[in-house]
């Protein structure tokens, strides 16, 4: 019986190199049937290990398209591996396709593929070795699929390069926190590098988890000899470095590329050795795929993605304008937030559908860990599922039924949970009572297997105008709750509700709360006074060592510079709106437009200033005196100006129409389409941007819904022109009346006509002009 985490366990070694040595060519997984005896002999040569790995690395429905069924290959592979006489772990490698947003495979498709892997293996194998993953998101889909569709133990490893990151940018700490959160039985690293080069990564992994750590290094760094990959590290050196890893506290060892039975034979001497225990300090951690945040000291949680009291965000949520949310997220990130709160709680919205959609969109652009903020447990679960990392869940309270709904979700996805120190009777008056509720929450979490370090408590801010004497109770409660060994949070700005000069009260209260043990103020990071108070606190309490961060932020500070900090990058200025657009100075466009509007009618500003400037820029561009970056800068400045003008337009005034844009199905190049978008928007058109890789039916659906004046389709390569043609046909079949524009590197007027489009334009500017021309004819 293997004693995981107590005694050292040895896995077998490289399979590919053995296949090569035996001269076996072809799809490795098919060799389980076509060369069963040879495969068995390799397994036998590894019988010195404790666990055999089935020859199933590429066996998933996305990667394997051969003539055998996945099921028969799986069965033969496990049967062959049993020749070793050892328990057999089913080898699960990456799908071979790249997940969204870089690739086109969806999280759900990846899940389905790995679910199929679980179904063909769960009754025949003894466990899973999930290995060589470099994308955390794909690994999450895999682990969820295996856990939900089998009960076998899962060992999961990722590959890191010498910079200490996976190919998609995850660090060992991020991998460890996510995998532990998802409930694997062992985690670690395989392939990547040789054992010596892996030492620093292994050390980081061991320090980042209390789970058993597994390491399967390559046989050193490969060298190229006559174009062939050769591994040259000696078995002695391999063993020596493996021993160093065991000294660090590694539990499971094995080999990857280039290792042979000789290497495994040598390290099998460690089998059964006592696993060295190492100190592990649990910490409160949340992470995205690229950044990890320890809730310690003070961490700012950005509150601006919560629609309460925010009209523009409400409208964006109702109109499904996720671009607006991305902009808000990116601005908060740039302003210094550490975590972002995401809330889609509006009566008009089905949170269960919308929240995960928002999460998927935000994580494409924003590196910060996210806080899933909803009282709808189903929405929280749907969002936690698609979140690429370990989220913070906001929130539970002391009510049993709320905790019974949320804690299973937090346990399953490894989330940190924010508990509100209140129950069905409301917010208790005293700090003592609030702390008692916190204790109840911590105890209930423990029943679900959620440790204390995955709980945070919000001791709840009351408004000073209504309950002045209770403000102090909130602060006292912070101190008491911290003694329970959990981190704390507060929605700071509630304190000033109903009082004049709210910023003053907010930042004073924030300073008091930080001093009493507040770890995570939920606040507006764009408020320079509030983030400033946090930075000052960090300096004054020694969190910001040598004041480095503070000095970096405020080195150029003068009292009057504070308001203009955001535009400091723009050292140029323009005297008039015309110059501003012509020079592409977006930062000044809004203010100069407001000034123009003081003396002119909105339509005059459009026709006499904006259109004129754009036309002049266009002429310069066409004559080769201005170039793409400048054209785009001007377009962006004009777009900003149009947004200001449109607020001054009478509601019923005639506007230019809508244009639906899409990069066609199968094509993932959207740079050209993005340029078209900004340029035609600058000419006053409203753009519905469907993104890239858009199937014909989605274009048809959008055209039906928005009834645009025109549709613009983009394709970059010859292989996607048929897809463009299919889209045009689908639109025609649906009776689309809009003008269909096509463009892209391989298009020309002839092709455009051949595939049934109305117009071909060679670049963004020509499209803007052609649109205007057609609109005038109309």
């Amino acid at each position: 019986m293997l004693r995981l985490g107590e005694k050292v366990i040895v896995f077998d070694g490289g399979f590919g190199s053995e296949l090569e040595r035996l001269g076996l060519r072809g799809v490795p997984e098919e060799l389980n049937i076509t060369a069963a005896e040879e495969i068995k002999s390799i397994h036998r040569s590894y019988s010195c290990a404790d666990i055999a790995t089935a020859n199933t690395f590429g066996l998933n429905p996305i990667k394997y398209h051969g003539s055998f069924s996945l099921c028969e290959l799986a069965q033969k592979a496990v049967e062959n591996a049993k020749a070793s006489g050892n328990p057999v772990f089913f080898d699960v490698g990456p799908s071979g396709a790249m997940l969204e947003p870089i690739g086109t495979l969806t999280f759900e498709q990846a899940y389905d593929a790995f679910k199929e892997v679980a179904e063909i293996s769960r009754d025949i194998a003894d466990g899973y070795i999930v290995e060589t993953f470099s994308d955390l998101y794909e690994l999450k889909a895999c682990i969820l699929a295996l856990k939900e569709n089998s009960s076998l133990p899962i060992f999961a490893t990722m590959t890191f390069d010498s910079s200490g990151r996976t190919l998609t940018g995850s660090t060992p700490e991020i991998a460890a926190n996510t995998l532990a959160g998802l409930g694997v039985n062992a985690l670690g690293v395989n392939c990547s590098l040789g054992p010596r080069e892996l030492l620093p990564i292994v050390e980081r992994l061991v320090n980042a988890t209390d789970l058993p750590v597994i390491v399967q290094p390559n046989r050193g760094l490969p060298v190229m000899e006559n174009g062939k990959t050769v591994y040259k590290l000696s078995a002695d050196e391999f063993v020596e470095n493996i021993e160093k890893m065991l000294d660090m506290g590694v539990s499971i060892i094995g080999g990857c590329c280039g290792t042979t039975p000789e290497f495994i034979e040598r390290i099998s001497e460690f089998s059964g050795r006592e696993v060295r225990k190492h100190a592990f300090a649990p910490r409160t951690l949340v992470n995205s795929a690229n950044s990890i945040c320890e809730i310690d000291g003070v961490k700012i949680c950005g509150e601006r993605l919560n629609p309460t009291g925010k009209k523009a965000l409400k409208e964006a949520l109702i109109n499904d304008d996720l671009d607006y949310l991305v902009d808000v997220a990116v601005r908060q990130q740039e302003a210094g937030a550490d975590i972002l709160d995401v809330n889609a709680g509006l009566p008009q919205i089905d949170e269960k559908t919308v929240l995960p959609k928002i999460i998927k969109k935000l994580q494409e652009y924003c590196d910060l860990p996210l806080q899933l903020d909803s009282s709808n447990a189903e929405a929280v679960e749907a969002a936690a599922r698609v979140y690429n990392g370990i989220p913070l869940i906001n929130s539970v309270n002391g009510e049993r039924e709320v905790m019974d709904k949320v804690f299973p979700i937090a346990k399953k996805y490894g989330a940190v949970v924010l508990g509100l120190a209140m129950d069905k009777n409301g917010v208790p008056k005293t700090a003592r009572e609030r702390c008692e509720i916190a204790e109840r929450i911590i105890a209930a979490a423990a029943e679900y297997g959620i440790p204390r370090h995955r709980i945070m408590i919000d001791t709840l801010v009351v408004t000073a105008s209504a309950e002045q004497m209770l403000v102090r109770q909130t602060l006292d409660a912070l101190e008491m709750v911290r003694k329970l060994g959990v981190k704390t949070a507060l929605g700071v700005s509630n304190v000033s509700f109903g009082l004049p000069n709210r910023p003053l009260l907010n930042r004073t209260f924030l300073s008091l709360a930080m001093e009493r043990g507040l770890n995570m103020p939920i606040m507006d990071p764009l408020d320079g006074e509030m983030t400033g108070a946090v930075r000052a606190f960090e300096l004054l309490t020694g969190i910001d060592e040598n004041a480095e961060n503070y000095i970096d932020i405020y080195k150029d500070f003068t009292p009057s510079s504070q308001q203009t900090l955001k535009t400091a990058k723009e050292n140029k200025s323009a005297a008039t709106l015309y110059d501003c657009v012509k020079q592409g100075l977006k930062a000044h466009a809004a203010q100069l437009t407001e000034e123009e509007l003081k003396t002119r009618e909105p339509m005059e500003v459009v026709s006499d200033v904006l259109i004129k400037a754009l036309d002049d820029v266009g002429r310069l561009y066409e004559s080769g005196k201005l170039f793409l970056p400048q054209l785009i800068s001007s377009a962006e400045a004009a777009k900003t100006a149009f947004a200001v003008v449109s607020q001054h337009m009478p509601q019923d005034s005639e506007q230019k129409g809508k244009v639906v844009l899409a990069t066609v199905h199968g094509d993932v190049h959207d740079i050209g389409k993005n340029i078209v978008k900004v340029v035609i928007e600058s000419y006053g058109w409203t753009v519905i941007d469907l993104g890239k890789d858009v199937p014909p039916e989605r274009v048809v659906e959008a055209v039906r819904k928005h009834q645009p004046f025109a549709v613009g389709l983009s394709a970059l390569m010859t292989t996607t022109v048929p897809s463009m043609e299919a889209t045009v046909k689908a639109l025609r079949a649906d009776g689309c009346k809009a003008k269909i524009f096509v463009g892209g590197a391989v298009l020309n007027a002839e092709t455009a006509e051949a595939i049934g489009a109305d117009c071909y334009t060679k670049d963004a500017l020509s499209m803007a002009k052609k649109l205007d021309e057609l609109a005038t004819e109309k």
Binding site: G169, D323, V330, M717, T718
Partner: protein
């Protein structure tokens, strides 16, 4: 890898201007600065990976035109794949959201940077290599990329081929290199010959000669 991933921006600039559509005119100080900044950013963001295998005789999929012509007289062939990694795509995507002009320049810089690093890397493989001939160009089918992926399995350097035969991440390339035969990239067999905007403007694309 014994070559540097830090580059002399000035050397790359003409090519970057070319990609931006400047075609040899209209260089500006403002754009120069932007190019410099983007290259420095790429040096931090990019994770250049190069994978190759060499063969004494060409793998089967190369036994057809235009490859046979390209490889005639070569003593061997190298199949290669290379990428700047997904973080460049991520960065580019964010820039398109926050700073469009910079995004456009960043994209052009990334293309030139990948070409440059690949050229430099190939110098460490040998000094008698041709340019990289990529399926999809010169009258060859982009579908042949599939064979290159089967041979190299560049998934391990983070590359993938989607259903329309696009390589991912977007700053990725694949190449067929003739060994022992100095060949020059030329326009005459290019798929874009006849409609190429570079030629119309009097220049050529990366490293090509007009023949």
């Amino acid at each position: 890898m014994n070559f540097s991933e830090t580059v002399d921006t000035a050397a790359l600039r003409p090519q970057i201007y070319n990609y931006l559509g400047f075609h040899g005119v209209g260089q500006s100080e403002q754009t120069d600065v932007l190019i410099d900044e983007c290259i420095r950013e790429l040096e931090k963001t990019a994770r250049f990976r190069y994978l190759y295998k060499s063969f004494d005789s060409p793998p089967e999929f190369l036994n057809k035109e235009p490859y046979t012509e390209f490889l005639r007289g070569a003593s061997g062939v190298i199949i290669s794949a290379m990428t700047l990694g997904v973080e460049v795509d991520r960065r580019s995507k964010l820039l398109f959201r926050t700073d469009m002009p910079r995004a456009v320049v960043f994209d052009a810089c990334a293309s030139a940077y990948l070409e440059h690093l690949s050229d430099e890397y190939e110098k460490t493989i040998g000094d008698d290599l041709s340019f990289r001939f990529c399926p999809g160009y010169g009258g060859s089918s982009v579908k042949d990329l599939k064979y290159i992926f089967d041979i190299l399995r560049p998934e391990k350097i983070g590359m993938a081929l989607n259903s329309s035969d696009f390589m991912l991440p977007s700053k990725s390339m694949a190449g067929i290199i003739a060994v022992g035969k100095k060949t020059v990239k030329s326009c005459k067999n290019c798929i874009m010959y006849g409609s190429c905007s570079y030629i119309k403007e009097g220049s050529t694309c990366y490293g090509s000669v007009k023949r």
